[in-house]
Amino acid sequence: MRLPENIKYGTGDKPPLAVLLILALQQMSFLGVYLVISPLFARKLGLDHEQSLQLISATLIASGFGVVLQSLRLFGIGSGYFCPLQATSSTFSGLLLVKANSGLSAVFGMVAIVGLAQMVFALIFQRVRGVFTVQVAGLAVLLIGLGLGYYGIKLIFEVEVGITLEQKGFLCLLTLGTMITFNVWSSGHLRLFSAFLGLMIGFIASCYMNVIPEVEWDVFYKADLFYVPRPMNIGWSLDQSAILPAIFTGLFLALHGFGALVAAQRFNNADWKRPDLQLVKQGILAEGITNLINSFLNGLPLTSSGGAVSLAASTGCTSRYLAYWLAAIMFVLAFMPKAIVLWQILPLSVMGAALIFLASFTALSGLQVMASRLLDSRKTLTLGIGLILGVSYEPIMLLLNENSPDVLNNFLLSGVSLGVVSAVILSAVFQIKNHTRDQRSFDPVQSSMSDVVLFLEQQGARWGARPEIIGRAEYAAWQAFEVLTEYGLIDAQNDNDDKIHIKTLFNEFTFTVILSYRGSLLTLATECPSHEKMLNDEQAVMQMAGYLLYRLADKVRTRYDGNHCELHLIFND
């Protein structure tokens, strides 16, 4: 695996301690922006100040546990990448729906079901990859990025006490400008710390301009420096009505995680071609386990953060050692209310600028994932309609005037869920007749190998898969044709029956070549003939051919119905 040029420290590299510490603080300052949404949500849930702090502490502890679990990759759990977990406002609608129907404690029971749903979807994604495609995951990340940016803009233009619009504009430009300047025009350590520097300068300028209200400073001064978080202080219960919203929430969190993990893979490999679905599965399993634990801690649902992954890549360090330091900082902060409150008093314009900076990376990493494969008309429509519905969430809700049927409410939770669920449904619908077929018959005596080569090359080009897979498929088909024609496996009875019919059948993931003929079955070999046997036994050449077919194709099948033989060569992209 070749590291991209912009990555200074890759997954396995260990940066110097001081660099690790500042990078971990930078990641914390980014993820801290997400933590600010926790008090907003706590207000909606009707939690008091103490419960609000407990909610944030629990989320921090779970997040710290999750980032370590994700990077350790133990016992088939975790992707091995630096992929921090974040809370997302996209889950709030579902949580609020459950709170309204079943009470506050059911909210945290729902988080457990979300975790279980993520784990189930992690297993499903690998099996039904035609529906849960990498492009759908990219759409989830793109929509989350757009939602984040939209939220950032809202924060900037929201009316705040004690600060004028000009001051807000100045703070926003200063914060965003600092981040951009260090990220684009600097190198080395300054680029590594661009987001952190922007937030710091924005905060210092806010203090200097005296735009943070006294009442918020009071909250900061009164907050304890240390306290001991109390897990389960709000409550925990399971309610039947929470199941459906939890499954939908689990689906788009799993898809979000899918997108973030694919982005992490892309950012760490200059030669990236396709997602490693085994690692994606392990990564989403880690997220699910984290949310199960998180549920009992009374924290908010978490998912892999595409923004944090993008931040790590954009600043040039994706080392997994960063995960351990980030987790340590998260654990320490969970015990420090004063530090938690610091994020709450950060002016909205500074926060909004940071969100726009990070949303750019999140949204664009989603776009990159979406564009990582060829988009045919089915995918274009799936992604296009999903995207349009996702960004049109507010007008749709306005149109429905909150009178939508209950079934719809379960996935009309947010723009992300609406867009992603629509894309998944369309993706499933477009599985109908998604195979392209072609067939040609070849005379084993008259046809030259060039005819077969030409036909298979045309089919391989139409398939559009990776060249090495097309190369394997062509090679195996040629080898099969050669063995059939050169070693007398074809019965020559009459003009119609002595032909070899080559049928190709393909979709995005699979290319199948079926050779049907009248004659004897080709014997596949699971063991390679020895070199001595190859030299002394003419039949060993056929055994070698059977062995090559067995090894080159992902699946090989032979069939004989008493009249015709079939050889199926199946290749996966």
Partner: protein, 111 residues
């Protein structure tokens, strides 16, 4: 269709192959190779840059040539294999029999 072009490069006899090496032309390749070895060639390089297919029958020819040349303390090197051909040589265990290089220049390096 296979074109076989032997050409001397200092102490090496470079056999450039163009096309597909299959059952229909492997006998021709076998005869030419064995003739070169019989004529005293001990350092041979097969340039497979322009080859897109080597069937199991053709693998046997390479094996035979390797056996004959090793009997006279000679060596055979292969270069320019495509990804698929490299896979085929790896799967068949033939890549252990030959020194395989990416380019002809690398194959012509005197050790």
């Amino acid at each position: 269709m296979l074109t076989i072009s032997p050409k001397r490069h200092a102490e090496f006899m470079v056999v450039s192959l163009v096309g597909r090496v299959d059952a229909s032309n492997s006998k021709e390749l076998e005869e030419q190779c064995l003739e070169l070895i019989s004529n005293g060639e001990t350092k041979m390089v097969f340039d497979l840059t322009e080859v897109n297919y080597v069937s199991s029958a053709a693998l046997r020819v390479f094996l035979l040539a390797a056996k004959r040349i090793s009997a006279v303390d000679g060596t055979i090197r292969l270069c320019g294999l495509s990804t698929t051909l490299r896979d085929v040589f790896d799967i068949s265990g033939f890549s252990k029999l030959f020194a395989i290089t990416t380019t002809l220049q690398e194959a012509l390096v005197v050790e």
